[in-house]
């Protein structure tokens, strides 16, 4: 197993089987985020912070749209049960330690978004030889770059003053979400012959 995509074809393109599975995972995760942001977004914005919800919703949708168009898709029979496992994991999860249910739901959404934006680095799978002009390669770079920016909203919220009294509960929920998302990411990568150690480090 390699730590990177490959073997690349003569034009420096990632094999379609690897493209299909990685793009499916990312579409599942970012699609779930888009749905949850859409549900949290009121028709008319009433607070300044809700403008960020709007931005998160459209950025997640853009990532899904980009991957749908940039990926060289190939039939993949395993996707049925893989996607079921992924989608089940993205369900809202109970977060203990919060007196207010709406706050608990917001924390759960933020921890899920943090885990996806921070813990998943698709561009780090690209070997040096990957063709920079290939749309899939560019899409992965863009997804990783945009994730780093989207992440800031989650960091500000989770580190914010309003959650200081619940810091232990937040940290515990966040570490759990990171572990869940990383486990699925690692397993999916292993299924297409890409190794990723527990911390995502590679050389």
């Amino acid at each position: 197993m390699s730590a990177f995509f490959g073997p690349l074809d003569a034009n420096g393109r990632v094999p379609a089987r690897q493209q299909t599975r990685v793009a499916s995972f990312l579409i599942s995760a970012h699609g779930a985020l888009a749905r949850r942001f859409a549900l949290a977004l009121p028709l008319r914005l009433e607070s300044a912070w809700q403008t960020e919800l709007n931005a998160q919703f459209y950025n997640e949708s853009e990532i899904v749209s980009l991957l749908l168009r940039a990926t060289s898709w190939t039939p993949d029979l395993a996707l049925g049960y893989l996607a079921t496992a992924w989608e089940t994991t993205w369900f809202p999860a109970a977060v203990d330690g919060f007196p207010d249910q709406s706050l608990a739901l917001a924390v759960d959404l933020a921890t899920f978004a943090h885990a996806v934006h921070a813990g998943i680095r698709p561009a780090a799978l690209l070997p040096v030889e990957a063709n920079a002009n290939d749309p899939f390669v560019m899409a992965l770079r863009r997804v990783e770059f945009e994730s780093g920016r989207l992440l800031q909203a989650q960091i500000i919220f989770l580190k914010g003053e309003s959650l200081v009294p619940f810091r232990d509960a937040v940290s515990s929920a966040l570490e759990r979400r990171h572990a869940e998302v990383r486990k699925l990411w690692r397993e999916m990568l292993a299924s297409i012959d890409i190794s990723s150690d527990e911390n995502g480090a590679k050389s």
Binding site: H114, A118, F145, I155, K159, D197, N199, A201
Partner: protein, 308 residues
């Protein structure tokens, strides 16, 4: 590869060299990883040392706490690593952020150290460094790890180092980009948000201390090292000629030689800090020169100084 356990976190470390030899423990700076000490490992082992390196929490292959990384946790990780060593002399050195962690360790566990070498280091966040740190953090947030590297590289190394690698800068940055995550670097940088100056505690650092500062370091300039020299009783300040902030990357042979000579002098009882100021040689093995008497070592031009 071995890991230390601190609570639920794992810290990746490496020990090399004879287990009963005096040890050097080396602490990384921001965006760095343990392999960057490879040249030091080889040079110090050849001089009879055991060498301990590790990835700070949040960097390299150590765990990356998702939301907060406290500097106290870094000190605890370092303490766990030093406990892995035998009971012989331990010399501790760190660069930049790693130098700060080394200072904190020396304040908390000084009795375990035979000597300390803070490099490109600081005990306070004066306005310039505070604002530079904030700008670097904003750069990381807006442009990712790669942009932070783009900002740090020209600030931290010389034209002589950059010129031969200019057409392959992406490959120079690649490993640092691969092993560092935006959120983890951001957590490391945000561990300074509630930073309290260490200056009042510096006089408690009783062990021999050699402070290394690049001549042209403008990220952590001379004045920050001067605080260490003035406050740490048994210290001396050694200026590395023509060096910038990251001289450990640029001048490994010279720096490893200085580390080895310092430890040898301490163990032989020859070391006398005296808060003196020295100029390092240009190359490994050369003689250190006392800073010329009558001149102010805090100035870049030779003006007659009033500094004691």
């Amino acid at each position: 590869m071995p890991f230390l356990n601190h609570g639920s976190y794992r810290i990746r470390y490496e020990l090399n060299g004879p287990s009963d030899a005096p040890a050097y423990v080396l602490v990384n700076g921001l965006t760095q990883y343990a392999e960057l000490w490879a040249a030091y490992r080889d040079a110090l082992i050849a001089r009879g040392f055991r060498v301990a390196t590790f990835d700070l929490l949040g960097q390299g292959e150590s765990d990356k706490p998702a939301l907060f990384i406290s500097q106290d946790d870094q000190v605890t990780a370092l303490h766990l690593l030093i406990q892995e060593l035998c009971n012989g002399p331990v010399f501790l050195s760190g660069i930049s952020f790693g130098g700060l962690i080394a200072l904190r360790y020396a304040i908390a566990h000084g009795d375990r150290l035979a000597g300390l070498v803070p490099m490109s280091c600081f005990a306070e966040l004066p306005p310039q460094l505070f604002l530079l740190g904030n700008a670097l953090r904003t750069g990381l947030i807006l442009g990712g790890t790669s942009y932070l590297q783009d900002l740090l590289l020209p600030m931290n190394v010389s034209d002589q180092w950059l010129a031969p690698v200019l057409d392959r800068l992406d490959s120079v940055k690649r490993q640092g980009w691969l092993v560092n995550d935006v959120y983890a670097l951001q957590n490391l940088m945000e561990s300074f948000l509630d930073f309290q100056p260490l200056t009042p505690q510096l006089p408690s650092i009783g062990m021999p201390t050699m402070i290394l500062n690049g001549e042209f370091d403008f990220l952590t300039p001379r004045a920050l090292h001067e605080t260490l020299r003035v406050q740490i009783p048994n210290s001396s300040l050694v200026i590395i000629p023509r060096a910038y902030h990251a001289f450990t990357l640029e001048k490994p042979a010279l720096t490893a030689d200085l580390l080895a000579r310092f430890a040898a002098d301490v163990m032989a009882g020859r070391w006398h800090g005296n808060k003196s100021v020295w100029i390092a040689p240009e190359e490994a093995g050369g003689e250190l020169m006392p800073f010329p008497a009558g001149y102010d070592h805090l100035r870049a031009i030779p003006v007659t100084g009033a500094v004691a």
